[in-house]
């Protein structure tokens, strides 16, 4: 039996938490995306020719959406979990009649909502500032949803594993950000030497970026079906891992 009210309450708390500090959780992503558009759109674009038949600013925008989505989704769960551990809030959850599944789901949904809000806002910025055409809106939303859920789950794994802000920052700076940049946000991998192209294929974020780029611009370095199934696979993998870890309680109990 599920404690639905408990699940709803914790989800509500997680969503309320990031909305209450929107200056930290929503505005920065928007500002940096606008800056990318302004810098690339009004300066660099005149020197960089089109990529795959679209303007450079338009080409990078799907990647910006994805980057914003996945960093926000993962940092919501990871920072919230670590904060609860460090500020002695976690006992409130662990002594309540909530199962590991319910706690994990509430966190994941909270992070997913933040990922979606941030992703959609950057999408809107693209539509408003550069007339971004969206060839398949449901497809775009499905990618934003899947990536938000997958990386929110990944963040929950990170949050359970981490014991300090330093460790969390290390995962973010040495793993997530480089993979995002190397996943083809700013370039087509066809512009890379062959060995670098092969390396990109083992970067999961490459598939996410190309997947959403296809649903928006109908341009992609790899088939959209592979990107879709990769997103589903990542979602299932990280969700299972986050739930199993939470249910075992090994990283959050003594």
């Amino acid at each position: 039996m599920i404690n639905w009210i408990g699940l709803w309450t914790l989800t509500n708390r997680e969503v309320g938490r990031f909305f209450s500090v929107y200056r930290q959780t929503i505005i920065p992503g928007l500002i940096s995306s606008v800056l990318y558009i302004l810098i690339f759109g009004f300066t660099l674009e005149q020197r960089i020719s089109e990529i795959q038949g679209v303007s450079y600013t338009m080409f990078i925008l799907p990647g910006l959406i994805m980057m914003n989505t996945l960093t926000n989704a993962s940092s919501n769960t990871s920072s919230s979990m670590l904060q609860m551990k460090l500020l002695q809030q976690l006992p409130d959850l662990l002594t309540a009649p909530l199962s590991g599944l319910e706690i994990a789901l509430a966190y994941i949904i909270g992070g997913t909502v933040r990922g979606i809000v941030n992703g959609i806002l950057v999408l809107l910025v693209g539509v408003i500032l550069i007339d971004l055409p969206i060839s398949n809106l449901p497809g775009t939303l499905i990618f934003i949803f899947l990536v938000s859920w997958a990386f929110s789950s990944m963040g929950l794994v990170m949050g359970q594993l981490a014991e300090s802000w330093d460790q969390l920052a290390m995962i973010q700076n040495f793993f997530l950000t480089p993979l995002s940049f190397l996943g083809g946000v700013f370039y087509s991998i066809k512009m890379l030497p062959e060995w670098a192209q092969s390396l990109s294929f083992i970067n999961p974020i490459y598939y996410m970026i190309n997947g959403i780029r296809y649903t928006i611009l109908e341009r992609s370095d790899s088939p959209v079906s592979i990107s879709f199934w990769m997103a589903v696979l990542l979602t299932l993998l990280f969700t299972s891992l986050a739930i199993i870890m939470m249910q075992s309680g090994k990283r959050i109990k003594q």
Partner: protein, 310 residues
């Protein structure tokens, strides 16, 4: 026998191969005010953290109203409210909102929790602070909030881990009064403390724990009678010689110091008439009698050879 609210059987726990609990057994009846008394690091917090699901046990069983805390965790946790020793911090929400969240975790909707939240904020003197964040509260208010949080789902069992640690005297007395009221209303209360006065004043029964072992259980009165150093000091009008009086008092445990006789007895008040009678028989004039009742502190000292605050 009265129904048991909490049963702890042969509970063992080690941290990195260092034993924290070495086979703890405790029974607490429904409606009882029970104290777990011991110095820092004795195993008090580990015991209640296992009971509430924060720490894994290595061995043994814990039952709450006859249900296992692992198998039936939803049931057992819904019956317990815990006020932890460590004060939690939250930067995001008002204390009123936090109480609604807490009720929600226990499956109580905001609508249904409203009456209880208002009652608790009022009763614990937090009503005017309902829109404040935790960081804006004083230490004493945070402590009271901790208790409100433990009670918001109206649990039958209240567990308090060192509830008055680091609070001023006035608040300590306020909290004691409130805990007595809750007990009077029928709540089963398990309190951990290293304040002797607190245990003596509030608890019907205590268990003395040290180094992960329960050394003794019973009511504070019974324990001090059994193990303390209670006695009577009789001031007499003259110096006495042991040779003269020992034939009349040799079945009693006493010492002589000039014109003072000290009798070690379990119940000083009951022993007064007997001692007066004996001394009168041998014509020893009495000037004053002073009773010395031992405290749980003496009991602890007796059992462990060290002070509880060491």
């Amino acid at each position: 026998m009265s129904r048991l609210a909490i049963q702890i059987k042969d509970l063992k726990k080690s941290y990195n191969n260092i034993p924290a609990l070495k086979g703890v057994n405790i029974n607490i009846s429904v409606g009882e005010f029970f104290g777990l008394l011991g110095p820092n690091g004795a195993g008090k917090t580990t015991t209640i953290n296992i009971l509430t699901g924060l720490v894994f046990k290595d061995h043994g069983n814990c039952l709450v109203f006859d249900k296992d805390i692992v198998k039936d965790y939803r049931y057992t946790r819904s019956k317990i409210g815990i006020a932890a020793q460590e004060l939690s911090v939250d930067w995001f929400f008002t204390i009123e909102k936090l109480l609604y969240f807490q009720a929600g975790y226990y499956g109580i909707s905001t609508e249904k929790a409203k009456r209880k939240v208002n009652e608790l904020l009022d009763r614990l003197g937090l009503d005017k602070k309902r829109d404040s964040r935790l960081r804006q509260l004083s230490g004493g208010m945070k402590r009271r909030f901790q208790i409100a949080k433990a009670l918001v789902h109206d649990p039958e069992i209240l567990i308090l881990d060192e509830p008055t640690a680091g609070v001023d005297v006035e608040l300590r007395h306020d909290l004691w009064k409130y805990l007595k009221e809750l007990h009077h209303e029928g709540k089963t209360i398990l309190l951990t403390t290293h304040y002797i006065e607190e245990a003596e004043l509030l608890c019907e029964n205590v268990a003395i724990i040290d180094e992960g072992i329960i050394l003794k259980k019973g009511s504070p009165k019974k324990l001090t009678k059994e193990l303390g150093n209670s006695g009577l000091t009789v001031q007499i009008g003259q110096n006495v010689n042991d040779v003269d009086i020992s034939p009349f008092l040799n079945d009693l445990n006493y010492t002589i110091e000039d014109s003072r006789l000290h009798f070690s007895v379990k119940d000083p008040e009951k022993a007064i008439p007997e001692i007066i009678q004996r001394l009168a028989k041998i014509n020893i004039p009495l000037q004053s009698i002073k009773t010395e009742t031992s405290s749980l502190e003496d009991v602890f000292l007796d059992l462990t050879g060290k002070s509880i605050n060491e």
